[in-house]
């Protein structure tokens, strides 16, 4: 799925919050399934309470798009029942960065308008 083309950004962005956070969690480092789930919950202070079934559905889609792949890296004495480890692909990293840029633009716009501080428009 060629996402390096400029048109791709319009197609996949903005990312769903859940997807964004999954990519974010993987950006921190390779992790296994449950580890990612826990990271997402921690990062969003459980506002996004990600559960097993939906998570793996998202994961499957991300892997289909080529943003995430299985990682061979795992700690030596780790419990194999945890399942496979995953990591961001370079493509996935690019998508994550594109989305972060987009959000930064939005934040700077709203900061200018004074919405972030809670003052409301004039």
């Amino acid at each position: 799925m060629p996402a390096n083309q400029p048109g791709a950004e319009g197609r996949y962005l903005p990312l769903k919050p859940v997807v964004f956070h999954i990519l974010l969690a993987l950006a921190e480092g390779d992790a296994h399934g449950y580890g990612v789930i826990q990271s997402v919950r921690t990062h969003t202070s459980s506002r996004i309470h990600l559960e097993t079934g939906p998570f793996y559905r998202h994961l499957r889609k991300l892997m289909d798009r080529g943003w995430v792949e299985e990682s061979a890296d795992r700690p030596a004495e780790d419990d194999p029942r945890r399942g496979a480890y995953y990591r961001l692909t370079p493509l996935g990293l690019e998508v994550l960065m594109a989305e972060s840029r987009r959000m930064a633009e939005v934040v700077s716009l709203t900061t200018e308008m004074g919405l972030v501080a809670g003052e409301g428009t004039g």
Partner: protein
């Protein structure tokens, strides 16, 4: 921290891993162990928060896994389809967020999104979903179970080759108003004369005393004509069936056994030459084994079969009408043709054997009708009742969904304000109901199979074709239709209601929109409908219960408390004459009366409230009949002196039988009140004499002297 615990919630874990089968195999391979691990960890965390939390989490996950698993399979299919389309160069359809592709038809993607949304919303309220699924599972499951009974018993054809050609042949009396089983004489004659039948065979229940083991055993089997298996187009599992030569009274004693008997008592030994059974004192060779699951139509499975003797030297050949006859019609012969042909044969027989066949005709009944007669009304009624119960459940659930619809109105309104199409909203509500219906139906299948097991356990023993009741393909189809129908029914009204809402109204009201006029009317209609149906069901079952109670209250004419009945048959070989039978009975009652706790014992031929075993012509000395047709037929029973006392029957007049009424005493008889009403209306019954046979002037020379006269000494209550 991430290590899953060893034992707690292991039932949930096992359930989860089983439900993972909903996912396609490729998915399971990649993610299966990770999913299981994550589930275990979260389950443990939930358990730490409390048992309720754990159950709630478990239920949610069950729903997720089953639903998402199916979605995953559907996605695989979609991707395959669009990939192949792309390869063909037609390009894949636009999957716009509003979900309509070419010509406004919802794309597969849109449907999947709807389903996913429906799952999410349902999973968010596990209690509502749980209750709804439970109700639907019970309702649909019960319907499927009853339908499986209706289908197996009433709708499906008999499990034989070309079952429409199988018919039962009966004798008729009194110009065709009553049917009765056939005498062996008529079986022989009908069988030989008719060309309308490929084959005919007779069946007669027969008791066997199986001896030769440590404990003698009484087995109820059947006597069958040779060729019965060929008639039914069934081959024996081992060996052969009976041949014509074995039909005579002096044919070599042979027997066949059922599959179950062969396995349990004869160790499945295929060398039949070495197998013998001692039945009624005579050694029989085992010549054949029936196939597994075989049962003669209209009879249950019989462990032991012997040839039905057709021997004119046996007096029973002429006058015992106790053979059930069925036959297979020849090709291209209709039931009417065969019936008329048989009737004309019966007419010939009336002339040929006047003293035995006077007034006897013939009638054919198709096999299936014969077997299921009497049950149709009850079964259809039962099905109707269960359908009504399901409708009540649906009405309840529809109300619940309506309320949910009200609560979700704001959400719907916002969606519509944001541009979602109205049609999409309807689809969303409908998909929620469909998901509920289909899942309920799947769970209902589980309930159905439990129900079928229950039916096998609890159905009345005389429900015909009980063994065939099972969850078969038509039953599955019925369940599918029921669950889809239920889902649509549940979804339609709330869907229409919610689609009619305009988002401006709701947002303006700024809060929960409580029942507007439209909503309350629909709910009121539901309540009224439910109450009406519930009343009908209650009245119906109340009437049924009352009828049943009345039946129980009917006075049978004897006491039923504290009494036990046994059936004994004495093999002719060991008890050939009257003295030996009488001696046996004396010993039997001596032994029985000696058992502590036994107050009295008695024997009789036949039990009260059962069909009579012995019917005879009867003549009263005072009122002999003039013609043979007028001679009344009565049910006769012989009994030991204490029989009536043991039963607790009432003696209305005169006395009961005494010990002194043995073979040396006077010949005495007792009659019942109905007999007095029918035959002795104006006379005092005591002292009248009767005999079992026709009046003198209707008998051949000298025959009358041999038939004894009995004096009536008592009248018994009905």
């Amino acid at each position: 921290m991430n290590r899953p615990p060893a034992r707690s919630g292991s039932m949930w874990v096992r359930l989860f891993s089983v439900l993972l089968l909903f996912y396609p195999r490729s998915f399971r391979r990649r993610f299966g162990s990770g999913m299981l691990h994550a589930f275990e960890c979260d389950l443990e965390r939930a358990r730490e928060e409390g048992r309720g939390r754990m159950v709630s989490y478990g239920l949610r996950s069950v729903l997720h896994v089953s639903g998402l698993g199916l979605l995953e399979r559907a996605s695989t299919l979609t991707r395959f389809v669009s990939a192949s389309r792309r390869r063909e160069g037609t390009g894949h359809p636009a999957s716009a967020p509003s979900g309509s592709g070419r010509r406004g038809v919802p794309t597969v993607e849109a449907v999947l999104t709807d389903l996913r949304l429906a799952f999410r919303r349902l999973a968010k309220s596990p209690r509502f979903t749980g209750v709804t699924l439970l109700t639907l599972a019970l309702g649909i499951g019960a319907n499927s179970a009853i339908f499986s009974m209706v289908h197996s018993v009433l709708l499906s054809p008999l499990p034989f080759d070309d079952p429409e050609a199988l018919v039962f042949a009966w004798e008729t009396r009194q110009a065709g108003s009553r049917i009765s089983p056939v005498s062996p004489l008529n079986l022989r004659e009908w069988r030989g004369a008719g060309t309308q039948f490929k084959k005919m065979a007779g069946v007669r229940p027969w008791p066997y005393n199986l001896t030769g083991e440590e404990v003698p055993e009484r087995v109820t089997g059947v006597q069958v004509s040779p060729g019965i298996l060929a008639l039914l187009r069934v081959a024996p599992e081992v060996g052969r069936e009976f041949s014509r030569s074995e039909e005579g009274l002096f044919g070599h004693p042979v027997c066949m056994v059922s599959h179950g008997f062969w396995l349990s008592r004869l160790a499945g030994n295929r060398k039949l030459e070495s197998l013998h059974l001692i039945l009624n004192g005579v050694t029989h060779d085992v010549v054949g084994v029936l196939p597994d699951g075989f049962a003669i139509p209209g009879f249950g499975p019989s462990p032991i079969l012997t040839p039905l003797p057709l021997n004119p030297e046996d007096p029973g050949f002429w006058g015992n009408h106790n053979v059930v006859v069925f036959g297979r019609l020849a090709d291209d012969v209709s039931l009417e043709q065969a019936g008329q042909a048989l009737e004309s044969i019966a007419a010939d027989l009336r002339t040929a054997y006047p003293e035995w066949n006077d007034g006897i005709g013939a009638r054919l009944v198709p096999a299936r009708d014969q077997i299921v007669q009497g049950t149709q009304q009850n079964l259809w009624l039962l099905l109707g009742a269960v359908v009504l119960v399901l409708l009540i459940a649906c009405a309840n659930l529809a109300s619940l969904l309506l309320v949910r619809g009200v609560e979700a109105e704001r959400e719907m309104a916002i969606r519509m304000a944001l541009g979602a199409q109205r049609g999409r909203i309807v689809r969303l509500v409908l998909s929620e109901a469909l998901v509920l219906g289909i899942t309920g139906g799947l769970l209902g299948l589980g309930v159905c199979s439990l129900g079928v097991d229950a039916i096998h356990l609890w159905a009345p023993g005389n429900l015909p074709r009980l063994g065939e009741v099972s969850v078969s393909l038509p039953v599955l189809g019925f369940t599918c239709a029921a669950s889809l129908g239920t889902g649509l029914l549940l979804g339609l009204i709330p869907a229409i209601q919610s689609a009619r809402v305009t988002h401006q109204d709701v947002l303006k009201e700024g809060g929960r929109a409580f029942g507007s006029g439209r909503r309350s009317r629909a709910q009121r209609l539901f309540v009224v409908g439910e109450v009406a149906v519930a009343v009908v069901l209650l009245v119906g079952s109340g009437l049924l219960l009352r009828t049943f109670r009345n039946l129980l209250d009917v006075d049978p004419g004897f006491e039923t408390e504290g009494r036990v009945a046994l059936q004994v048959s004495l093999p002719q070989a060991s008890y050939p004459d009257r003295e030996s039978v009488t001696a046996f009975l004396d010993r039997l009652h001596e032994g029985l009366d000696a058992i502590p706790g036994v107050q009295a014992s008695g024997s009789s031929v036949g039990l009260p409230l059962r069909p009579s075993v012995w019917r005879q012509l009867m003549t009263l000395e005072r009122h002999p009949a003039r013609t043979l047709q007028e001679v009344p037929v009565v049910d006769v029973s012989i009994m030991t002196p204490r029989w009536l006392e043991t039963l607790g029957a009432r003696t209305v007049r005169g006395r009961a039988l005494l010990e002194s009424d043995d073979e040396d005493g006077p010949l005495v008889a007792l009659v019942n009140e109905s007999f007095v009403r029918a035959h002795l209306a104006d006379l005092d019954p005591l002292g009248q004499r009767l005999r079992l046979g026709a009046p003198d002037h209707l008998l051949a020379e000298g025959q009358g002297a041999e038939v004894p006269w009995y004096t009536i000494v008592g009248v018994v209550g009905d």
